[in-house]
Subunit: 93 residues, 2 copies
Amino acid sequence: MSLAQLHYFVAVAEEGHVGRAAARLRVAQPPVSRQLRALEDELGQALFERTPRGMRLLPPGERFLVYARAALSAIEQGRAAVTEARGTRGNVQ
Amino acid sequence: MSLAQLHYFVAVAEEGHVGRAAARLRVAQPPVSRQLRALEDELGQALFERTPRGMRLLPPGERFLVYARAALSAIEQGRAAVTEARGTRGNVQ
DNA sequence: CGGGCGCGAGATCGAAACGGTATTGGACGC
DNA sequence: GCGTCCAATACCGTTTCGATCTCGCGCCCG
């Protein structure tokens, strides 16, 4: 599992569309498809249902989405706690 | 930033020693040193103080450690929420 | 009912990242 | 001053990643 996979997963979950998610992420579509599949393979469980219209989140995907967002959010907070604390006095929140 | 970097960072923070952390992670010492430096470089801030005895966490490192652990923990929880839910009835937890 | 379209997936290739081994530089202890 | 222990660097082979091109499959439209 990689952070890119988590970013891809969240984007596709939000867009319901690999191509649109790829555009938002500024990458091509095939890498997103491949990483998504690799993620499902690693988890041993399908996260999306492939429809002719795009991707729809399955229940396991919805469960995973919560934690994927939490992880990415924690990383952003950690980055902020280090980066924005340069010269800051006291606690950040 | 990568998940490996977070794992390496937490291990070194806990061991206070790159070599020991590397042994625990079953990798060689240079990759750990390199990834740690890359992480500091990306954050634009030193996380450790290099001493002749090993590595000591600096205040920014301590702040970051909290979120690094949170991110890794969230990923583990997400993995569990998907993996262990195979055939499980009702909520986990 | 057949052609066109939009979607994700697969194949292939070049580039970038990663880890391992070998080695260096620096500080403490004897 | 020499040996030792530490992290850091150099270099190399392998792996992984992303971009481009192409295919297969359903659906909509004519």
